[in-house]
Amino acid sequence: MAINDLPILSALRTKMQWHQERQRVLAENVSNANTPNFRPSDLVEPKFDNNGANVGGAMGSLGMMRTSATHIGVSGGGQSFRGDGGKNGFLTKPAGNAVNLEDQMLKVSANQMDYAAATSLYSRSLGLLKTAIGKR
């Protein structure tokens, strides 16, 4: 089992990717704060189930389909080739008509703090692994 297959690490990686993408969207909103007819957008938050798998968006790698119960399961892959009809990734939806700079700044700082939380959780989890293999 590769390190990236650990549910907590893959969930944290998805979350970090989401924060990166959100930072881009927020940068777009702020830089277009004075552009006429510009509608700010935001990202839908990722949702995780109890096992840390991302629900709704297909962020994981595309795995092989199992057509028979006797096939060897591939870790980390989806169950279907069809996916969710091209709606993978995170949905961008308009939040209104005008960019509210205060609102955007709040979102940026929240994004930054959540990202910091995710990265420290990630490094803590790596620390646990290192403890387990006795390197510290």
Binding site: M16, Q17, H19, Q20, E21, Q23, R24, L26, A27, E28, V30, S31, N32, A33, N34, T35, P36, F38, G89, L101, Q104, M105, V108, S109, N111, Q112, Y115, A116, T119, S120, Y122, S123, R124, L126, G127
Partner: protein
């Protein structure tokens, strides 16, 4: 997602496009304020007319993101201020001088707005940099 890990660089480039646009706007505003009293060099001619910056959001294909660009700089179509100054060399036959249609109050308000947007973009850049720093901190764990 096109390439993983370059999202932060893209955020920075988008914010930089905002900085560039707002800086261009500041340049236009300072041009207006500096020329607030520039009359015509010829008698009875039109003075400096106020310039208006326009913004448009354009899709940057290399970044795959909507960056902001400073569009065409238009001129304000409102009427010039007219003063009766027969001794002025720019006065027309009736002794009236046309002064630019620059209102310092409007320019100051615009300047504040440009300043605020500039700071917001700077804030994005510093937040992105702090996030990159957090990513690098994983290595130290």
């Amino acid at each position: 997602m096109a390439e993983d890990g370059s999202d932060f660089a893209r955020s920075m480039s988008i914010a930089t496009s905002g900085l560039r646009a707002q800086a261009g706007r500041m340049r236009v505003i300072s041009e207006n304020i500096a020329n607030a009293d520039s009359t015509s060099p010829t008698a009875g001619g039109n003075p400096y007319s106020r310039k208006v910056p326009t913004f448009s959001s354009a899709l940057d294909r290399t970044l795959d993101a909507k960056v902001v660009t400073l569009g065409k700089i238009r001129t304000d179509q409102s009427a010039f201020r007219v003063k009766h100054e027969p001794s002025n060399p720019a006065a027309d036959a009736a002794g009236n001088v046309k002064y630019p249609n620059v209102n310092p109050l409007v320019e100051m308000t615009d300047m504040r707005e440009a300043q605020r947007s500039y700071e917001a973009n700077l804030n994005i850049i510093s937040a992105t940099r702090r996030m990159i720093q957090r990513t690098l901190d994983i290595l130290k764990a």
